[in-house]
Symmetry: C2
Subunit: 211 residues, 2 copies
DNA sequence: TTATACATACCTTTTAGTCGGTATGTGTCA
DNA sequence: TGACACATACCGACTAAAAGGTATGTATAA
């Protein structure tokens, strides 16, 4: 593999490979159990490269949460669920899309930010806060569609768009916890079916049978 | 503090204190970040006592998950939400009870099993499985009430009692993740409001305003 | 010739786990 | 009833390995 040049500093450089390794290894074994040597091995770089790019392991943890945020933001922005002109349809398409991408082993589809935030709550507040930014930043993108759908359809009710957006995240995160505990992706998918049914109820639309 | 005798081996012994310490410390900083010395300090016992009672740190992890399971099982069995004669009322009382006990800092009300299962998914399958037993064992207790409520009220729908029981757990676990990430208990409580509304919808009963 | 991006050997602290020892309760037999 | 053997519960210094982090050297690009 060729040395990265200054013209293309992003392409396959050690920093990016380490962030990708963190993303994958941490989702499987947790942040604290993922040692610096583990991460270097997974990224196929040396310790020198690690501490050249990151001042400490915790600094990598923060950067990994930020990297995860950028990566997922770009991924969901490019996703097809934005296409429907109707806001509620976009919301339901979002839920369907989240369900559709739950494939493979739990570490492949679960959320790095949720895993790390829960684990490092008291031991690394910096990492926790970076994870919170990722989670709650993502809910904000959904909130706009929910608010639009409410207006379009004149929906009342004692709930807010922000709260439903956060609930959607909670169902996802909780589904991931169950999927990891039971080592079964279906546990995450079935909660999204319940969420779909709940949202249709809030907006007074009929359920669809096949999902 | 007096030495425990063979007549009262359970009272305040080192083993129990270590399990309680694990319950509290792990929920705050995660399993891997909780060192044996941390746990001994929190339990006010020595390392000798630790390794007298547990063959390894992982063995303590498994025992802590089992201890958590026993403790929460007893707690929820004794809880008042079982009182209503009507099954649906018991379910809604359960959700209200789960909401009511979300007080204090996140490590005080979040779930040890959920935290550990997510973290040790690949690093300690033994612990993960012990956590799964606790989580899915608890859903089973709720499932009976859901099934009873369905029969009593003749509710159809393409969902099962088992799946709704698991969804309830997912909403709880997800709420805990958000509460830890945002360091705000209200994030867990608000998802339970959505869950309450969803369950009332499934059983065709009106919402109550104040919760 | 200077800055960047590594590589490698090394250092220091922390970590899980060990080991010999002590205190105390318990069963047994004279 | 007391002496003895034995088991359980615990103590705390020690150890080996693993951990995060450092120091120094080198190749390449600008």
């Amino acid at each position: 593999m060729s040395r990265p040049t200054k013209q293309s500093p992003e392409r396959g450089n050690a920093r990016t490979r380490l962030l990708e390794a963190a993303r994958d290894v941490v989702r499987a074994k947790g942040y604290a159990a993922a040692t610096v040597d583990d991460l270097c091995r997974a990224a196929d770089v040396t310790k020198g490269a690690f501490f050249h790019h990151f001042a400490s392991k915790d600094a990598l943890g923060v950067a990994a949460a930020e990297f995860w945020n950028e990566e997922t933001t770009a991924f969901f922005e490019a996703a097809p669920y934005h296409q429907p002109a109707d806001a509620l349809e976009r919301i339901l398409a979002y839920v369907a899309f989240r369900k559709a991408i739950i494939v493979g082993e739990p570490p492949e589809f679960t959320c790095l930010a949720g895993t790390m935030a829960q684990e490092v709550y008291a031991s690394s507040p910096d990492i926790r806060d970076a994870c919170a930014l990722s989670i709650f930043g993502h809910t904000a993108t959904l909130e706009a569609d929910i608010e639009a759908a409410r207006r379009e359809r004149g929906i009342a009710g004692d709930w807010t768009a922000a709260s439903l957006a956060r609930h959607t995240q909670a169902v996802l995160q909780g589904g991931f916890v169950l999927a990891k505990a039971g080592n079964d992706p279906e546990l995450a998918r079935e909660s999204l079916d319940h969420l779909d049914r709940y949202i249709r109820h809030l907006f007074h639309v009929a359920e669809e049978d096949a999902q």
